[in-house]
Symmetry: D2
Subunit: 106 residues, 4 copies
């Protein structure tokens, strides 16, 4: 079985719906939340943890929903793949806190 | 006084220090933590809230430190400016949860 | 047949190979060049034009090659989807030049 | 004198002006074109070459213009700093072509 060694952060925004887009973003979060993958929402995007194929699939599911009623969509994606390493959704922040010897805001 | 209506998420990574870079990232987090600005760390970057000038300055401070002993640096930045709106570091996630009618992972 | 209405720009960088990575980037460009899709290389990434599925597939092909001998990979992706609009790889720049009434550097 | 060893690619988009934004993007390109810095436009953004301070300044100039009549602005930035290396706006692509032994689309 393939390891969930890929973190993908993405934000997906319609450009044709005006400046308030949270109704559209909420539908994506709902899809991610029900995907079964581990994830964390932050103020600028959502980080999903899975295999390469899994994280691209959940992003594609969000795109399919959004493109059903949006004419132009902008997506920004950051991927951090580390061969064989899992559990990094929590471990990356812990590693920073260990280095600093104190807790930081998260 | 200028409003803190700018959210900036960034990650700054040396390319010449091998695959484990948390020692370098920690120094940036320390600079951000001591800047006085509100921020939130996530597994893929840090979101800082301030005026346009403030958020670029803290990123520049991190660059100055990192470039003191790193030869090549890769930076990725996402900025969300919304005129006159403050407090969005927390409000953006609350807005999504309100739309969904439930809490989500963050 | 699905329209090639998706532009995807990406850069894919190994973090465990030192500061000079052009040998690894070249292999990706070779894969893109042989994919049959329209593309344009720029100093910071490659823009590929296709359907949503086509552009994600060529990026996945590059990932498969790079992950065969790299331990940690960082990928940054920007997608611009515009329903039903094709030929934008060239048209977006022309549109800017038309607006300005002169040629610009590209 | 500081070396122009920083490449910055950015795209800056208003979210409150509908799906066609080239009128606003054109104003940014005009600012960049008149800045005196070397740059290259591509279909997904503009790559500017300068010192760290110069490239952030031209981006800030574009932000000031855009925020004069736009309520919400989304900016995406990629920076590649390589200590003491200049002329990379052209050299990075040549390096890829040298590795491949042929010209590619740019």
């Amino acid at each position: 079985m393939k390891k969930r060694d890929t973190l993908l952060e993405f934000s997906m925004t319609p450009l044709d719906k005006g400046e308030s887009v949270s109704a559209y973003v909420s539908r994506s979060i709902d899809i991610i939340d029900k995907s079964g993958l581990e994830y964390k929402l932050n103020p600028m995007g959502t980080v999903v943890e899975g295999t390469w194929e899994e994280v691209l699939q959940v992003m594609t599911d969000c795109y399919k929903k959004m493109s059903s009623d949006c004419e132009r969509i902008s997506v920004h994606v950051k991927i951090d793949y580390r061969k064989g390493k899992t559990g990094r959704l929590g471990d990356k922040i812990k590693s920073i806190e260990n280095k600093l010897g104190r807790e930081i805001k998260k």
